[in-house]
Symmetry: C2
Subunit: 369 residues, 2 copies
């Protein structure tokens, strides 16, 4: 694993060695303020999803801000274990847990924490119940409803009711409510975003009503995300928003949610100059993540990232401006897909006004289990 060289607090960011994962605290704090202040006076609250940063230090700041449920979301039991160790006791694992070992770990974690999990399958409900009984714990279970991604979840309506009944009847399980992950809806047209958001969340609320008609109370309706937090958060009946991206943001998402700014970047060093208008930096796919799109750089006007390979990033500029970058220069690279990039690092260097303020462990890095 990564072995950070620990620099003194106050070190200028340019003096850090590269490639290094950097978070700008002023930007991150403003992102948190922007989203959380919306939830100060709403019935719905935000449950931060930590999948994008995997970093307890950041999640603590999210829960110190206003308008949250007091809990977090994770995608994996392994992430939940790390965050429980870091003082988070109300955790929704927004996913299915199905293997025997993970069911045991889930039930064990529920002995000392408030643990909620998604289910979309009757056999899985039985297995969850068996594991909780064996461990003498109570697991909260949400019915996950498939609204858009066709990836997980039962269909809305009667299938959701049937699963809710099974959960409500199962020993050692507590039926907690309904949820969906509709996926990030990216509309530049706000009216379309409102229409789409209502369309998918309506299916969840209709299922909620059908479950309540069957005599089962529904406490939680957990939907939405960074893409539609203020729309979903204002719909009557919605109790919590699972928002992830807002806190660090990624640049390809900014056109759709311009109220948030990218707070996380990789700083790299130019190591070679293959041509008068080209330079090679010491970051690549191993540090930046996949190439759904090319990363961007705002180091100097006119620089373009034209190619990324495993260990190298090539930057070019107008051929009338030779030697715009030289060997040893530092450059800032903003990855295309943030959550995958952050997961590549074990440590994040927190910077304010260009100086080091903290080094944070990305404690749940690699916890895919």
């Amino acid at each position: 694993m990564e072995q950070p060289i620990f620099y003194p607090i106050g070190t200028p960011v340019e003096d850090l060695d590269t490639p290094v994962a950097v978070v700008d605290l002023d930007i991150m704090e403003q992102n948190i303020k922007t989203l959380h202040s919306f939830f100060a006076n709403t019935t719905a609250k935000v449950r931060p999803h930590i999948k994008v940063h995997r970093c307890p230090a950041i999640a603590h700041q999210q829960l110190q801000a206003e308008g949250n449920t007091g809990g977090i979301c994770t995608a994996k039991i392994g992430e939940a274990e790390v965050f429980a160790q870091s003082g988070f006791s109300d955790i929704l694992i927004a996913n299915q847990i199905v293997t025997k070992q993970k069911l045991q770990r889930l039930a064990s974690l529920a002995k000392t924490n408030t643990i909620t999990v998604n289910a979309d399958n009757l056999k899985n409900v039985q297995d969850l119940s068996d594991a909780a009984q064996e461990a003498d714990s109570i697991i909260n279970v949400l019915v996950e409803i498939n609204t858009r991604l066709n990836r997980c979840g039962v269909e809305p309506g009667q299938p959701a009711v049937n699963l809710a009944k099974a959960i409500a009847k199962a020993p050692s399980l507590n039926f907690a409510g309904v949820t969906t992950y509709e996926g990030a809806i990216k509309h530049e047209n706000y009216e379309d975003l409102v229409t789409e958001t209502h369309k998918y969340i309506r299916q969840v609320l209709d299922s909620k009503e059908a479950i309540e008609k069957a005599g089962i109370p529904v406490d939680t309706v957990s939907v939405g995300g960074t893409h539609n937090y203020e729309i979903a958060g204002a719909i009557e009946g919605v109790t919590e928003i699972q928002a992830a991206s807002y806190v660090l943001m990624e640049w390809n998402y900014v056109p759709f949610r311009p109220m948030f700014k990218p707070a996380f970047k990789v700083m790299a060093t130019i190591t070679s100059r293959p041509a008068p208008n080209a330079a090679t930096a010491d970051c690549g796919h191993k540090t930046l993540g996949p190439d759904k799109g090319l990363p961007m750089t705002d180091t100097l006007p006119g620089l373009t990232i034209t190619r990324v390979s495993a260990e190298h990033t090539k930057i070019t500029w107008d051929e009338n401006e030779p030697d715009k970058l030289n060997v040893g220069d530092k450059v800032w690279v903003t990855p295309h897909t943030l959550e995958i990039c952050v997961n590549l690092f074990d440590y994040m260097f927190a910077i304010r006004k260009g100086k080091l303020e903290a080094i944070w462990e990305i404690s749940a890095r690699g916890r895919y289990d």
Copy 2:
């Protein structure tokens, strides 16, 4: 970081929890044998590049096989530090080292190990020399020549000679020879592969002759890779081949090098069944790496991976065969780009004939520095 559940030796692979990184030892050992046996009776030897696995346990096996130089390649000083700690004392860092901190670390590592590095820049040669003088060590330096990728390296011929002269004159540096990374040449037509290989390596050998004409001996000509090892390794004057992929292999490379088989796979579990002919597995881009192409699965005939997102992989099959996979079933996923996938994991589970034989730390994971 990942916290492996340590299973007893002999555990059936299907009993490991998922997603898990698995190496098949029979296949890996055959891959090593195939490549290394070629070098048993050649002048050129193989210098395994560890970038693809970052795992000392594997590199030790590569150096125990015949036909190697006794040394390894890395891409980063951070990887070299990890491997030096694991008993490798002859390390070529096949890259440029330019930052002050890394130059100091390089010079320090060279005090107790045989350390070689690539250079392509006069200022960098001066910096390397200053660092080695300061640390009272000797650094071996290869002139890197740009032959194909336009990413690093001086041009062949006179620029290579000029740089070699500067290295030979610099205090505390030892001019070691010439190198190029021509990049993996993927030709299905063998004749074209031979032609291309000779074309690029010719430029390196011509530069070598020019440097020798200038009165500077050239010990090392380090070129080639898995893509052309038997062609490059047979060219007179070539002293070592930097081969990486052969040991674990990736499936998209197999059509070009069918003598090697994929030895590394990710085992995952089906967690949801969104449709009668579709299943969702608990691996995704965070465990498999980027989507230059979709991964493949050979779990059952007729299964196709149709979509990968951050945490999920969707598998579909012919709609006339419903329920081919069920929740809880294990599936095997072979990633598209292996070296990036392996770097996502902290541990690799070594399997022989379906049973656990060892758990190996991927010790240099995350060492991008």
